[in-house]
Amino acid sequence: MTDKTETINIILRVWRQKGPKNKGHLETIPVNDVSTEMSFLEMLDVVNEGLTLDGKEPIEFDNDCREGICGMCGAVVNGIAHGPEKAMTLCQLHMRKFSDGDTIVVEPWRSRAFKVVKDLIVDRSPLDKIIQAGGFISIAAGGAPDANAIPIPREIAEKAMDAAACIGCGACVAACPNASAMLFVGARISQLVLLPQGKPESAKRALSMLKKMDESGFGNCSNETECEAVCPKEISITNIARFNREFVKASFCSSEE
């Protein structure tokens, strides 16, 4: 096992914004001797340690699990949500993907529906509100039939799992020119409508989730497919097609308003 550690020098251009009502700007911070074994967030940790000791305010950024599953982290790095690597959250991006002398521009998600809280942190609560509008199966604790009562073809269960892998990070919204949340909503709708348990509420769900999405200030889909390109969990846009189909079915073939 050889030790692969190298160090590089980079120039960070990072978005600083005190609060939702303040004006933001890009600040330039040169960072030297960055180990290429570091993750991107560990690099920011090191920068923040330095800023703190210099009596300056550290760069605020959301993060939690640091293993790519909680969906808390995320920033636009060099114009790409979650950075240059495919199928990866920001916390899993490593500095070995950058070269000595690189300038790295880091900005928060940009979308009308996501207000900037501070620096790289945005308010993604509109995504929760869409789920609250119908992204569930109405089952109270205690009344469930035996888990094997309804066999589900493996292929269908796998498709549902593909859609269910969404981590709710909001990168799809940040990447979309319309700041649409269609991939997020489509993934949830797909998971539930593919499974027999979710079918009874499918019409109501499609209508109410779409309504809430529109109310929250997200745009609509114009098939740019930018969402799919940046999705850290590689959620497919076929889920948007399935959502559209469900919406049309619900609008014309159901009694739901």
């Binding site: 800023l51 599953i69 089952i139 589900i152 799992m161 709710g168």
Partner: protein
């Protein structure tokens, strides 16, 4: 203080049924008159919030993240146990109960553990009904796999993302109740303290993490589902925001803290690479189903692992434990890796790693099968370590992962503070001195969906609770205390960052109170922690203000708690002069180097009572009686 676990009478198999009948009920029409606060939205908190709201209670739920969907239950990879016995391989409620008691090295309560096994089947039913996409076989029925510490296949899973899928199931039930107006959800709030009125838990003070405001909320009962304290080690598999704060504030308000020294070090994590490192990433234990753990027979063998012939490899787990092999429980696997590395036989740049090799499984099943089972884990490994585990064995090393200790609770999951209930990892009750794989998810959901909805009703129906809102002086008093605490952290303006203190604390605890402990080291740790805490309060630097989002300030509060809690952890480890499960005291081991329990003197729950700053806590003992299982030396040979 006399600890009463309130374990119902009667035979073990009938206790829960009987208790559910004996518990007083709250009339459906009266439920809406009761307000319940739930802190935390992991599996336990989300499922409890949803279930209580479904029953008709008014629920206020709080979480630290921007959304309840992000709690750290989401990171659990491998699976969830249940005694369904779908594979017809000999499982039963009794076997799951027995495995859990034995896996916990006979330091958990029989009655709680049996109940856990009993409700395990309902959890799977509930989750499937919510739309959790568990893995299925070609006939469309649910698939199972085996997991560390068990010889039956009872683990249900959703690829390597079981925790995520179960949490999203609970989150969707929670969201349904929020949408219906039955739950008020407060994200980005950190609980700063609990408010007691007449000795009962009646509310909480939280800090709004966006604008720094202190907010008061009153209720008739408070539920903490705030997770474990694994981040006391700084480096752990936990998320960065995981903290002991809420549980520790409850401890300081009179709730006893039980078995803090029972910490779990998970055997399969990606090893440490540098000083800047912020976390250790878990590689699911399910990997041990197909991966073989080994090191070179000769120390200092620096050849590429693929060039080391079979005859020069030491498959030390298979050799030492022929019947369980690589599937021994976590504590046993971790300790063996540590011993091998301490003896200078570890691999990798630091010498603190062992190989986890999939070559045999790939040769046997083909690379596609292995990719189907573990693809996401292999990808994660390759991304972090820059090495392809399909071709070169993985390197793994143990890391802090889960904490079995927690706030003491009785059979009703109520702490020693009336009206304060504690669920999930935050309590101590079900896993004894070591937790088996795929049992944390089971416990979180058991507590939230199927235990608390019954037991909290018994409390509310039976207990006189006086009218009191946030205008009660107790809220003002507690609020002022926590405000002063925050102001103080900002006022020190020293020269050492919060993370720097946390890192050092973690090293102390890892070195002296980690996988192996002894009296001398623990005593030393006690002094080191005290010195570090004193320095913290003189020399910490917390930038920014308390009026807006300030992660450093949040962290400072959590590290301040860990600096006190660390001492409690060490105190408990010192006092428990035996080895059991994850608590391995080097002075107490068998000739073969296994944990040696002392059932005569230590077959009890150690519950610690806070006595004020600078004073040693008092130890209260809850004796553990085993009427249904025979205490034996754990053997996985």
């Amino acid at each position: 203080m006399q600890l009463d676990a309130k374990i119902p009478g009667g035979p073990l198999t009938e206790k829960w049924d009987r208790h559910r009948f004996e518990l007083k009920l709250v009339n459906p029409a009266n439920k809406k008159k009761f307000n319940i606060i739930v802190v935390g939205t992991g599996l336990a908190g989300s499922s409890a919030s949803a279930s209580l709201a479904e029953l008709g209670y008014n629920v206020k739920t709080f979480c630290i993240q921007d959304s309840p969907r992000r709690a750290h239950s989401i990171a659990a990879q491998g699976g969830i146990n249940a005694s369904k016995n779908y594979p017809n391989d000999g499982d039963s409620i009794w076997r799951l109960f027995y495995d859990t008691i034995k896996g916990g090295d006979f330091r958990s309560r029989e009655a709680n553990t049996y109940r856990l096994a009993q409700v395990s089947d309902n959890i799977i039913d509930q989750c499937v009904a919510q739309g959790v996409p568990f893995a299925r076989d070609y006939g469309g029925l649910l698939a199972n796999r085996s997991f560390g510490g068990a010889q039956v296949s009872r683990t249900f899973y959703a690829r390597g993302q079981t925790g995520q899928q179960l949490l999203l199931g609970a989150y969707s039930s929670l969201s349904r109740q929020i949408g219906a107006g039955k739950i008020e959800m407060f994200p980005r709030r950190e609980m700063m303290d609990i408010v007691l009125i007449n000795g009962q838990a009646r509310g909480i003070i939280v800090r709004n993490l966006i604008n720094g405001d202190f907010e008061s909320y009153a209720a008739d009962a408070v539920i903490l589902a705030t997770g474990g304290y694994g981040n006391a080690f700084f480096l752990s598999t936990n998320a960065t925001s995981c903290n002991v704060g809420a549980a520790f504030r409850a401890y300081k308000k009179g709730a006893l803290f039980a078995n803090p020294c029972f910490t779990q070090i998970h055997p399969t994590c990606i090893p440490l690479s540098g000083e800047y490192q912020s976390k250790l990433t878990l590689m699911s234990e399910s990997l041990r189903n197909d991966g073989r753990v080994w090191v070179p027979k000769n120390s200092g063998d620096e050849r590429d692992p693929n060039d080391i012939p079979e005859s020069e490899r030491d498959y030390f787990l298979e050799k030492k434990y022929p019947s369980f092999g690589n599937l021994v429980p976590r504590d046993v696997a971790s300790r063996n890796s540590k011993e091998i590395c301490d003896a200078g036989r570890g691999v990798g740049p630091t010498g603190y790693a062992v190989y986890l090799d999939f070559k045999k499984a790939i040769d046997r099943d083909g690379v596609d099968t292995i990719r189907n089972k573990y693809g996401n884990l292999f990808d994660m490994y390759e991304n972090i370590i820059d090495d392809n585990p399909y071709k070169t064995p993985m390197m793994i090393y143990p890391a802090s992962h889960y904490t079995m200790g927690g706030l003491w609770v009785d059979y009703n999951l109520m702490s020693t503070i009336p009206g304060l209930f504690v669920l999930g990892e935050a309590n101590f009750s079900d896993h004894g001195a070591n937790r088996l794989g795929a049992s944390a998810l089971m416990q979180g959901l058991a507590d939230g969906y199927f235990v608390i909805p019954y037991t909290i009703g018994g409390y509310l129906a039976e207990t006189p609770i006086e009218e009191a809102g946030i205008d009660h002086p107790a809220f003002k008093e507690t609020g002022e205390e926590v405000m002063a605490h925050i102001k103080k952290l900002l006022s020190i303006k020293g020269k050492r960052t919060v993370d720097n203190f946390h890192r050092e604390l973690g090293k102390i605890i890892w070195n002296y109170c980690g996988m192996a402990r002894n009296e001398e080291g623990l005593s030393k740790a006690m002094n080191l922690i005290r010195d570090l805490r004193n320095e913290f309060w003189e020399n910490v630097i917390v930038p920014g203000s308390d009026m807006d989002f300030n992660l450093s300030l949040q962290k400072a509060g959590r590290v301040a708690d860990y600096l006190e809690f660390g001492e409690l952890l060490v105190t408990d480890a010192l006092a428990r002069k035996e080895s059991c499960g994850g608590h391995f005291r080097e002075e107490y081991q068998t000739e073969e180097g296994e944990a040696k329990r002392d059932d005569e003197n230590f077959c009890y729950v150690a519950a610690w009572e806070y006595n004020g700053p600078g004073k040693a806590p008092d130890l209260h003992k809850e004796p553990l009686s085993f009427e249904n299982v025979e205490l034996s030396q754990r053997s996985y040979k």
